[in-house]
């Protein structure tokens, strides 16, 4: 049997599995230590598990309905779109790296890595121009956010020797 409308089918599957996960965590699985679940309570005295459990059940049901109707739809439409893993990877990995490195190495360096890294995902990547943009932008951000708006963002690497420089003190 072929899936009639793959987009709807898999979309429904995503919803249903998310609903299932939320409901199961709220309900808990007996015997599994880390899946204790939350107290359900009664409608009059709801525990923390009540609302999320039933929402999860509803989401699971809706997802199942979407998946089933998607499966049975007429053929030839709703083909899956291609995932562009390259762009996805470079942008998300750079964002994650920025989050991890911001405190240890400071915004100036982390920002440059973020921009150069994400630019690797572009079709027309050129190292020189990416670097130039990156340097320009981190300086701009430092001036606007740290010097201007006084947001406490670390600028320099977290090394004691550097903290005596005025530039590094946020």
């Amino acid at each position: 049997m072929k899936i009639g409308h793959p987009k709807d089918f898999w979309g429904g599957v995503i919803f249903a599995s998310l609903g299932l996960v939320f409901a199961l965590i709220a309900r808990g699985i007996p015997g599994v230590g880390f899946m204790q679940g939350y107290t359900m309570g009664t409608p009059a005295r709801m525990g923390p598990g009540f609302f999320p459990f039933w929402l999860g059940v509803i989401l699971f049901t809706l997802g199942a309905v979407i998946a089933v109707t998607g499966f049975r739809k007429a053929h030839g439409e709703g083909a899956l779109e291609r995932f562009h893993w390259k762009e996805l990877f470079f942008v998300l990995a750079s964002i994650a790296l920025f989050g991890v490195l911001l405190k240890p190495i400071g915004m100036l360096l982390a920002g440059i890595m973020l921009i150069v890294g994400a630019s690797l995902g572009s079709h027309s990547f050129r190292l020189k121009s990416a670097l130039l943009i990156a340097v320009f932008l981190v300086i701009f951000c430092a001036l606007v956010f740290v010097a201007g708006l006084k947001l406490p963002i670390p600028l320099c690497p977290d090394i004691d020797a550097l903290q005596s420089f005025t530039v590094c003190r946020a």
Binding site: I14, L92, S94, G99, A130, I133, L149, L151
Partner: protein, 501 residues
């Protein structure tokens, strides 16, 4: 007169030099970011939120409101010049606006959009001033069950207006509600869905979710499309529409304003429905409907006025009931809470300076947009011609720094990245993510009110049907659903969204 006194108080707050400055900066920044292709008001506000942290709450809200209008106007500019709507409410503007731009009338289109928006904004501001106080008084009579039903109605209304599949939109809202529950449960102190991660115990900030789903995923989408778009920068001169154009647009602007204001008040209504129905109405009333879609000035004037009017009046449910009616308003609630203000009916009496100051600043902001944009449009256009390779690094780093500074938490940047991935997957499977944000804000509120309602009724669910306010709200919600699911209307709804995009 009481209204006049209130407005005087408001203008007294809004017209101090510093607040005028913040309003101006907000409008400027909002337009600047909003003009960038693929960045709608939600991402703009999320990105600029940290810029308001250092301010006094009143000034911060005034600046945020300025950012919001600026972003809206910037979005219209992009629609007209690049045929790329920043959000659903300016989709219709693309139809005739882009065609006008192709005919070399871009300036005229932008000018009439600015003037129409200003007129609509002025009328809507007066409406807020008039309607908010009695509504807030009514809201004080609301019990928990009424609030719960109101939120159900709001969510249903939002779903009905979302484009695309109805059932997927409902599922998206439920998912939003669930995500909103992450973090410590207020009643029992249990940390839900936080997997022992200290960063998750306070829940995920709405700015983080918004930035990921609407900012990061959009960057990836734009990168994968690669090619630069055709932009019409010629004919942007001559911004002022001539007498003939104004005569032709006057009635559409007026009708758009009325329609938009009315629909904006509805919970869930908002700018989307306003602009779509204003466009449809003008097309129906026109002597020669075939002109529409080929550059009819009414096709720009009416929806632009309507979405601006609705954008304004959607503050009414936010300020009086504390319930957001659009994803943007959901973000506004988040911003208010960060500044220590809990939106709701009590805000008007507890903080009159803030309430009326914000309303007065709405009008000031609208005026500023006209004054600013007529001369500055050339600059925005230049910005549009900048290659995406130069633009997206800026968007990216502003988003990252912005997310980090909301809580000074590096973890938030990682979470926003995760939501970026989720948002990308949603788009690939045709799952419109806008309703998620609404559900996200309403999740904890709905649970709290459901709990209280059932506690008061000792677990009897009939309480939702015996209280008159609650019952009538639920009936309206049910009617909406029935109407939308009726086959003939479902087909019509499909047509409006498909044929016009």
């Amino acid at each position: 007169m009481e209204l006049v006194n209130h407005l005087m108080l408001g203008f007294g707050v809004a017209l101090t030099w510093s607040n005028i400055m913040y309003c101006l900066i907000g409008c400027l920044l909002g337009t600047l970011i909003g003009v960038l292709p693929g960045i709608g008001p939600v991402a703009t506000i999320a990105m600029l939120l940290p810029a308001t942290f250092a301010l006094h709450p009143v000034s911060a809200l005034i600046m945020l409101a300025g950012i919001y209008y600026g972003a809206q106007y910037g979005g219209s500019t992009t629609s007209i010049l690049v045929n790329l709507p920043g959000e659903v409410s300016s989709v219709v503007t693309c139809l005739d606006g882009y065609q006008m731009a192709r005919k070399g009338q871009a300036g005229k289109a932008l000018g009439i959009a600015a003037l129409g928006s200003f007129f609509a904004g002025s009328v809507a501001t007066m409406l807020i001033a008039g309607f908010a106080p009695p509504l807030a008084e009514l809201a004080l009579k609301f019990g928990p069950s009424d609030y719960f039903s109101l939120m159900v109605l709001g969510l249903i209304a939002a779903v009905v207006l979302a484009h695309g599949s109805l059932i997927k939109a409902i599922a998206m809202i439920i998912l939003g509600l669930l995500l909103g529950l992450i973090g410590t449960d207020v009643n029992s102190g249990v940390a839900r869905y936080s997997f022992n991660m200290p960063e998750l115990i306070d829940g995920i900030g709405i700015g983080t979710v918004a930035m990921g789903v609407f900012g990061f995923s959009e960057i990836i989408r734009n990168l994968e499309q690669g090619a630069d778009r055709e932009i019409f920068t010629k004919g942007v001169k001559g911004l002022l529409p001539n007498w003939q154009d104004i005569k032709q647009s006057a009635m559409p602007i007026l009708r758009g304003t009325i329609l938009g204001s009315a629909l904006g008040i509805l919970p869930g209504g908002g700018p989307i429905l306003g602009s779509f129905s204003a466009y449809t109405l003008e097309k129906k009333l026109a002597k020669d409907p075939s002109r529409f879609g080929k550059g009819a000035i009414e096709g720009v004037a009416a929806p632009e006025s309507a979405n601006n009017a609705a954008a304004q009046t959607s503050f009414i449910p936010l300020l009086t009931l504390g319930i957001p009616s659009t994803p943007t308003m959901a973000l506004m609630i988040g911003a208010m809470i960060i500044h220590g203000i809990q939106p709701g009916p009590q805000i008007m009496t507890a903080r009159p300076d803030l309430f009326w100051g914000m309303i007065a600043s709405m009008w000031v902001g609208n005026l500023m947009l006209v004054i600013l944009n007529l001369p500055m449009i050339g600059m925005w256009v230049k910005l549009l011609t900048v290659k995406y390779d130069y633009l997206f690094p800026a968007i990216l780093i502003f988003c990252c720094v912005g997310v980090y500074s909301i809580n000074n938490a590096p973890m938030d940047v990682l979470l926003a990245g995760l939501f970026g991935f989720i948002g990308y997957v949603f788009i690939k499977f045709d799952m419109e993510p806008a309703p998620l944000l609404l559900g996200y804000v309403l999740g904890p509120m709905m649970e709290e009110n459901l709990r209280r309602a059932l506690l008061l009724s000792r677990g009897d669910p009939k309480v939702f049907f015996t209280r008159p306010i609650s019952l009538s709200l639920l009936i309206v919600a049910a009617l909406l659903l029935v109407i939308v699911m009726a086959p003939s209307i479902a087909k019509k709804r499909e047509e409006v969204f498909v044929a016009d995009t």
